[in-house]
């Protein structure tokens, strides 16, 4: 087993060396199960009378569903139930609603139209998998095929078809204001004007399928005490549980989820589709039901790492110092949001890469297209832009005639440097990584480069510069043809004084009210006095905007801060029941007018 070399000269305070396990080779605790074939994956749990559920899928990228005829399928041998969208109690969700991020935009089963090839339009539950497949082939769907859009930039043009009506501009709405995520630091245009070289290039990464050897799947079965057990290979057990509770409109306390063993995942098993589907099957039939993707489905409808396109523009001095870097990025989210808008916020916090650049601007778009929705994969939100940044560094080195490793050492973050999202760099070690890599690869670097250290501060890099801002790209403007360019604006109309951290934008709200004890929510009735749980009143004002990450946006004018907590001392009187509106953002644990649809006990099915 190869051992790791720890550089105590750099990370003296990072770790106690006297630990028994950490830093020492060890034997995986689960490996005995693996080599004896005894590790219990979800499909290794056997159920008598197991039924098999399969999905009927759209052959079109984009089409209206005129009608679905299941009558022939229902008569096929072995078929127990054919289900469609109307069997899903609450057929609209967005994965991150569990942390109050984004609007519900995705049904578990399409009903009005399909937005990507392979989207579910119906299910068949039958005694054997083959019977379910045979019956799926007999479900007749009448489609009215619509024009589709498969390219991120084409999706932003005024005449591109609207893919998802919840986001009619084919982009995620950032902070309820812009059609993209902005980052502004310094003044890139002024820096480009004085740079010796300006280097522009475009980089693109295609979608990548995680392709775990074990495809996504779950088995659900009725359990005692009116609960449902679900064995699943999800990578996000409580996400899957919460999503199932919401889509199927049952209390999470009625769901007994068992996971923890996945035959590979790599990010592809967080989307929580197979779990609600299998539990729905068990609810509809009262029998154990397995719902698993076959290999074709894993590749076609399993959400990949989405495709990305990046344009980079660098202003560079002839000594190799990068003085400005501008990004225009496009994430292909596919037909639904899932985790992409969040990945962009994470990716934006990563710009401009591990380099100290005093002027940075980026516009990143979360584009909605008629492709398979994208989701997490290793290095989520970072991988493609890192690829672009490092290719760009090589291009810059070539342009200024410099050793690419020395160029990186020259520009690398050091401890104390101010990053573009206004956090100080800590524990930096790129300089040392470059030095070690160069040595190991027999790649000569200058004495001067070899003597640099991340620990030597560069005071001039530690300040927040005066920053120019703009208001280009307000939601909807682009699709009306009123914004020509997708790149960061050259027309600034605001200035933020040097040194402004913008921490005033507001701390993130309580992200998941679910984490607060709320006896009602888990199915207990705790009496009627709302004064017992004043926190619930606060939650009712849960923001509709995605939580503004404290310092990432750094855009002016200031992003509207999330709703300030109302004075928590005033108990809200019980509200009259109002009709539940599924288009409103969902927050698990939120007290809606009237009783929560997620308190159970009396809403059995």
């Amino acid at each position: 087993m190869s051992s790791i070399e720890f550089r105590k000269d750099l990370f003296a305070d990072e770790r106690d060396d006297n630990l028994k396990e950490i830093g020492k080779p060890t034997i995986r605790q689960d490996i005995l199960g693996h080599v004896t074939g005894r590790t219990p994956y979800y499909d290794d749990h056997l159920f008598d009378g197991l039924l098999h559920m399969r999905a009927v899928r759209s052959p079109h990228h984009h089409a209206q569903i005129r009608s679905i005829d299941t009558s022939v399928a229902e008569q096929m041998p072995g078929v127990r139930r054919v289900a469609t969208a109307k069997d899903v109690p609450h057929n609209l969700n967005t994965l991150l609603s569990l942390i109050n991020f984004g609007r519900d935009d995705e049904p578990l089963c399409a009903h009005d139209k399909v937005r990507y090839m392979g989207e579910t339009v119906a299910w068949v539950i039958a005694d054997t998998e083959r019977q379910a497949r045979d019956a799926c082939a007999k479900v007749r769907v009448d489609y009215n095929v619509l024009p589709h859009v498969l390219d991120v930039e084409e999706a932003l043009t005024p005449n591109a078809p609207v893919v998802n009506e919840i986001y009619p501009n084919n982009t995620f709405d950032y902070h309820e204001k812009y059609d993209h995520q902005k980052l502004r630091f310094g003044d890139v245009n002024a820096a480009f004007a004085r740079a010796d070289h300006v280097i522009e290039a475009e980089y693109q990464m295609s979608p990548i399928e995680q392709a775990p050897i074990e495809t996504c799947g779950a088995i659900a079965a009725p359990e005692i005490n009116d609960r449902f057990v679900c064995y699943t290979n999800t990578q996000a057990l409580f996400f899957s549980l919460g999503t199932t509770a919401k889509l199927l409109n049952v209390a999470s306390s009625r769901l007994h989820f068992i996971g923890g063993t996945a035959g590979g995942g790599f990010g592809g098993k967080v989307d929580s589709i197979v779990e609600p589907t299998a539990v729905l099957g068990a609810m509809l039939t009262g029998r154990p039901v397995k719902f698993a993707w076959d290999r074709y489905e894993e590749m076609q409808v399993g959400a990949p790492r989405g495709g990305e396109r990046w344009r980079l523009k660098d202003g560079v001095m002839s000594d190799g110092t990068v003085i400005a870097r501008e990004f225009t990025g496009f994430f292909d989210s596919g037909a639904y949001m899932r985790l992409s808008p969040y990945a962009i916020i994470k990716g934006t916090g990563h710009l401009p890469g591990p380099y100290s650049i005093p002027n940075v601007a980026s516009n990143v778009y979360c584009c909605i297209t008629n492709r398979t929705p994208a989701t997490a994969m290793r290095g989520f939100g970072i991988t493609a832009v890192d690829f672009a940044i490092e290719c760009q560094m090589d291009k810059v080195a070539e342009a200024v005639g410099m050793n690419p490793v020395e160029l990186r050492i020259l520009n690398a973050y050091r401890d104390g440097d101010m990053k573009a999202h206004r956090r100080k760099a800590k524990n930096t070690a790129l300089i040392e990584c470059c030095q070690v890599a160069a040595a190991k690869a027999d790649w000569a670097i200058s004495r001067q480069a070899a003597q640099q250290s991340s620990l030597t501060p560069m005071p001039e890099r530690q300040n927040i510069p005066e920053t120019v801002t703009d208001t280009e790209g307000l939601i909807g403007e682009r699709r009306q043809g009123r914004v020509a360019s997708t790149s960061p604006s050259t027309q600034s109309n605001g200035r933020v004084p040097a040194g402004t951290h913008r921490e005033a934008i507001g701390g993130a709200p309580v992200q998941n009210p679910d984490m607060q004890i709320d006896a009602d929510r888990i199915g207990h009735k705790m009496g009627s006095s709302p004064t017992q749980i004043p926190a619930a009143a606060t939650k009712a004002a849960a923001p509709t905007a995605p939580p503004a990450a404290p310092s990432v946006p750094a855009a002016a004018p200031p992003v509207a801060p999330v709703a300030p907590p109302p004075a928590a001392t005033v108990p809200t009187p019980p509200q009259p029941a109002a009709p539940y509106s599924p288009s409103a953002p969902f927050s698990r644990g939120t007290k809606r007018p009237g009783s929560s649809p997620f308190t159970s006990g009396f809403r059995r099915r």
Partner: protein, 160 residues
């Protein structure tokens, strides 16, 4: 649905079961004969997680028609260990960190066993060839190849 009776040896045990028409061997092994060690990854022969030995040579149980194994001998990972004693391959996989998620492991072990049974002293290239039909998406191939070579050495009484 008609079922057909078949019998075969499964890891030294005599098995008689009724199999479904058109059913692939993996389903019958897992759901009917109770051997859960072959894993289903693709159901089309491409991933190798379902590899079992039929009369000593590797086959893909997901694309083997179950009724065709009547009268044959099947070996799976379930029979690799001799009681409490792990097979040298299993031991080498443990020591060499040759499993991550574990889903390809059963198939890898059977492909490796077939190799070592036929060729006790394989070269590195022969090991790579032998597991070329088995995918590991955790991309742990190098430790797997190392482990198979280590097991071969141990079975031959050589120092690793």
């Amino acid at each position: 649905m008609t079922k057909k009776p078949i019998s075969f040896m499964l890891n030294d045990a005599e098995i008689g079961i009724f199999v479904g028409e058109g059913a692939p061997l993996i389903d019958e092994l897992r759901r009917n004969a109770g051997d859960l060690t072959p894993k289903q990854g693709c159901n089309q022969g491409t991933c190798g997680a379902c590899t079992v030995l039929i009369d000593g040579v590797p086959h893909l149980s997901c694309i083997t028609l179950a009724e065709t194994v009547d009268g044959k001998r099947i070996d799976t990972t379930g029979g690799l260990a001799g009681g409490p004693n792990l097979h040298a391959l299993q031991d080498a996989f443990i020591q060499g960190f040759a499993a991550q998620c574990g889903f390809c492991t059963s198939g890898m072990l059977m492909a490796a066993k077939a190799l070592l049974d036929a060729n006790p002293n394989p070269s590195r290239d022969q090991v790579i060839e032998a597991i070329s039909g088995n995918l590991c998406r955790c991309t742990g191939y190098e430790p797997i190849v190392d482990a198979i070579l280590a097991a071969a050495a141990r079975l031959q009484g050589r120092a690793v």
